[in-house]
Symmetry: C2
Subunit: 222 residues, 2 copies
């Protein structure tokens, strides 16, 4: 068991109606929703199918999550929460440059060892394919006010601080961070589905090489 696995990743309570990590049914729902969102995609995913997969009823699913949007939000939050934990644990040692390099490696996952379990790989695919659908919504302002996107903002600002520690003159830290964070996820989508708009093959991890170049070339010029 990894060090990271010993920590309870905190996910904002309000997202779920009750804490799914606390009960056996709740865990079954999370487990199966990860599989189903990955296999069916957000549009084809329904609570009915989830209930069937988790051997329960639709009504019971609604007792944990008020909608499939909220359930997806819960999973996405879990992803960013876990990433934040890893950053806090692993990117605190060394000089600013080392810390920044470590952090970059964590968020871009160059070595697949970071995604050790099948569910972790599924979860990353879900973030890549589905996360925008709970962000790009008319409800985003409300959601953000409620704190539903705070974990993501925290990750961004953690990385922004690392950048400032390395290069205090950097003007556009947040833009730089989100460009890399979102870009690296998007490249993995393109690699699989629109290969002609990327130069990345999963093997040699061009994604990591490119964004590392991009980051440090930008910062060295400041």
């Amino acid at each position: 068991m990894n060090l990271i696995d010993r920590f309870q990743i905190p996910v904002l309570e309000q997202i779920a109606l009750r804490n799914p990590q606390a009960t056996s049914l709740g865990k079954r729902l999370i487990e199966n929703s990860i599989i189903l969102f990955d296999e069916l995609g957000f549009e084809q995913f329904t609570f009915k199918k989830l209930a069937q997969a988790a051997a329960t009823t639709e009504a019971s699913v609604y007792r944990y999550f008020s909608s499939k949007q909220k359930l997806l939000l819960y999973l996405v939050n879990w992803y960013w929460g876990r990433l934040e934990c890893r950053l806090l644990l692993e990117a605190q040692a060394g000089d600013p440059k080392e810390r920044l390099e470590t952090a970059l490696a964590i968020i871009i996952n160059p070595n697949s060892a970071d995604l050790s379990t099948a569910n972790e790989r599924r979860l990353q695919r879900i973030v890549i394919h589905e996360a925008p659908k709970v962000l790009l919504t008319k409800a985003v302002d409300n959601d953000h006010q409620t704190g539903y996107h705070q974990t993501y903002a925290d990750v961004v600002n953690f990385l922004a601080k690392l950048i400032l520690a390395y290069q205090p003159n950097c003007n556009f830290t947040q833009m730089l961070v989100t460009t890399i964070l979102e870009g690296s996820l998007q490249q993995r989508f393109f690699a699989q589905h629109l290969p002609e708009v990327t130069n990345c093959s999963e093997q040699e991890d061009a994604v990591y090489v490119f964004y590392k170049q991009l980051l440090f070339k930008y910062l060295h010029h400041e």
Copy 2:
């Protein structure tokens, strides 16, 4: 009337069941769908509401577009098609550096004069807020094979060629282009809805300044 407006932007025929630009009803549908997608968002948008807004019936809408996904795809394609036309018209003069700078200005729209009409501003907002929803789909591979995303790929490759003309040693041209293209759209979303993860205010157009820096710093280091 602008030069650009004299051209018929070609949108792949197969996306629509019949060409909406060719009839009065079709034009009304496009016009109103732009307004409604912008105001309601993809999720709340329905053909029933569109029919009502365009003073027609649901069944008639279905004779033009087989689903609201296809209609959105049509609008998004129109956006990229128009951008491609502008690039071909305006970014062909001068030395490689000038051409690249012009192209960057076109895709990032630093001066709002480029978005002269209300509908153009609406269309860009639609691309920012809704476009990912027709890309991040289980149907993406089929769609791409049918050519539904070809215009986007063409824009990317046009820009990639400009970069190679300026800096032949650049290894990751496509990744660089999509990072800037998608990033710049995303920053505008963040600016409005998650301001703490960006450094951009709509006024001074930090988006343009930042991505120009990012691009040329990256290329000068090659």
